[in-house]
Symmetry: C2
Subunit: 412 residues, 2 copies
């Protein structure tokens, strides 16, 4: 949680965090400033001090909402700096950062950098700045021991925002179900009122409209994939594909608050009208595995162990897994889950190699999403919910939603 950042920095001998980029769709910045209309900013977090936010002069009002100490780029005029550096833009930018760092008294020590932005100019300017301030060590937190570690456990306010996104998500999924089942069917294909087949693209447009209406967005798209595409976990679906009865539909939706806030992550697999015996059987195995894993959740465990356990359970049904073959493309081919927060994938990790800090703890928010994929047989199945851990160590699913495979069609 945020309150742990100073301690984590001190324990790890880090003198400051330097977060840069926009105040929207930039999880590291949004964690501190909230979703803010800042097109480009630099935030310095130093233990025991109020964070310092550097902002463009036109964005003063927006920056002030943060409650942080403010510093306007206008105080470091770029034209003057350019004259000083003989017209070299790279050196001028570096000199501006040097002056900013000097003005806040941060010219030596270890500084970890964060934020999503264009890496090219950033790298060039940091290289130059390093030469100007040789006692300053600028580097990144690859092991995620400071900011991502703090973000890996959520406080009650964060949980409430994720809960609101869970409600939005299941409402959209419920709407989708109502829309699908209200369609007429002709030769196993869903037909719109204009007589044309209902397509994946039609459904996705409607999903986007509902998300917008409920104040959410899906910056990384939505997976609504049918048949063979459902058997390829990262296929988001082919827009022109018609929706047909009896084929698996993998519907994986991971929206966030508008502007790039907290995410929710959720998957159901449906067969409209009917399912083949094979799909029924495999679906049952995924559902049993899901339930078994939920029953084995324990506070303090490293979720990487759960990934191994999933492989074990699915191998017992005779499937290939990423454990038996890292390049497997049918069977169990991905990771069991991941942390969820201001990024849709974040710490704790279920498959990525990490240190001991990677644990399920009170405040952890994570997905469970076992699946089985047989693209050559034209189907894939995945079930996913997002859970959190309470202070007293219980595992709670943010939102309930039926887990039925077969969706009865209402219209003839």
């Amino acid at each position: 949680m945020k309150q742990h950042i100073d301690t984590l920095m001190q324990q790890n001998h880090v003198d400051a965090l330097w977060i840069s980029g926009a105040g929207q769709h930039n999880s590291a910045m949004v964690y501190f400033t909230g979703i803010a209309h800042l097109t480009g900013a630099d935030l310095f977090v130093i233990p025991g001090r109020t964070p310092i936010l550097c902002h463009g002069p036109m964005e003063r009002d927006e920056a002030a909402k943060s409650g942080f100490d403010l510093l306007s780029y206008a105080e470091f005029d770029l034209s003057a700096l350019l004259k000083e550096t003989g017209g070299d833009l790279r050196t001028a930018y570096a000199l501006r950062y040097k002056r900013i760092l000097e003005s806040i008294g941060l010219t030596k020590g270890k500084v970890l950098v964060y934020g999503s932005r264009d890496v090219g100019p950033y790298l060039a300017v940091v290289q130059e700045l390093q030469k100007m301030l040789p006692e300053l060590e600028l580097t990144g937190d690859v092991n995620e021991i400071i900011l991502l570690e703090a973000r890996a456990t959520k406080d009650e306010r964060e949980l409430e925002r994720i809960r609101a996104m869970a409600r939005v998500t299941t409402r959209v999924v419920g709407n989708t179900l109502d829309m699908l089942t209200a369609h007429k069917v002709r030769r196993d294909t869903l037909i719109k009122s204009d007589g044309q087949p209902l397509t994946i693209g039609d459904v996705k447009t409607q999903i986007n409209l509902w998300l917008t209406t409920y104040g959410a967005e899906n910056p990384e798209d939505t997976i609504f994939a049918i048949g063979r595409d459902a058997g390829v976990p990262h296929s988001s679906g082919t827009p022109t594909d018609p929706i047909r009865l009896g084929q698996t539909i993998v519907y994986d939706i991971f929206p966030c608050e508008q502007g790039g806030g907290y995410f929710y992550d959720f998957t159901r697999t449906w067969c409209l009208g009917y399912a083949t015996d094979e799909v029924h059987q495999i679906y049952d195995q995924v559902l049993r595995t899901y339930n078994q894993l939920v029953s084995e959740l324990k506070v303090g465990i490293n979720p990487a162990g759960l990934q191994q356990r999933t492989c074990e359970l699915l191998e017992a049904y005779g499937h290939e897994t990423v454990r038996t073959n890292p390049r497997v493309s049918s069977g169990y081919v991905h990771s069991l889950g991941h942390g969820v927060g201001l990024d849709v994938h974040e710490k704790p990790w279920f498959s990525r190699p990490t240190d001991d800090s990677n644990k399920l703890l009170p405040g952890s928010v994570f997905t469970l999403e076992p699946g089985l994929y047989y693209p050559e047989q034209g189907y894939g199945i995945r079930l996913e919910d997002t859970y959190y851990v309470t202070e007293d160590g219980r595992f709670i699913r943010f939102a309930d939603f039926p887990m039925d495979l077969v969706v009865p069609m209402r219209a003839g």
Copy 2:
């Protein structure tokens, strides 16, 4: 244009471009791959060779659509690399890049990096990689002489995509006008059918729904600001503000193709029902300035000169400008325009200091957006259209839309 990249690289002694990050909302990557469902990828562009795209094993199909040579991360197994590096993640990632670069024969020379992604882990890994490959010089293109220079002129296919976004934009703006004028008015405030005032938030939700319906999105929000907020160019509007007659509304909309493609940028200023004499007069000055600037557009000029010219024209009307006072907050307070493409702000620049390559040339796409702001008097005015330059040197506005200040209300 894309066809110039090899030449630009050779002229500037650059051996390769290394573009990384996702295949969506990442302009440098999208320029080459199109909007692609790649969660994380690395693309290497080397003169005279087919670009090489490194992708996750589950995203092979999506990567193949690029037509580029492919390399799967699965061929550089991270667990094996971790064993080699004694469990250090940073070194393992760097070693993976080293092996990738070795496998494509790129271990020395000057490589420019591009792409939007988390800068922290990136910086740390690049620092490590630099130690492993000391003959490789990795840096960024701060002066925008290669990729951004190529992107600064658009070919006919790109222009057609921007034209389509211009149609979407003006359609949404037209819808907005229809919606506003259809509302009833009570004591100068627009009233919804439920008797409540129509708010900025209501209008913005509807704008988002239209954008979604027409296949667009607005990742950087929309400015729909009234009264004092209209006088602050970077205020996007207060969602709870009611829409009132007689106040200036600055409506600046800059959507892009869904998934993060080409942008369009457009602004109108409206007063519903009526406008004060002062606003009429200042609006007229902005409009005259806009028309004057359009008449002075010439192929080959550096648009920074147009910014100076705008200051001159507006100062003649007695306004303060950024030229007379760089920290000015009323009068003319921003830049006249900017290039538009896969980024909403890109080369050519109107105010940023740049070299001689910053010119209006056939294929240039840019905005013209003069404005005058008086927040303390409760108003602001801006007019903006996006233009392009034809092969024979004509300046064409992508989409026409009326420039009337006062919008007559239809309902009583």
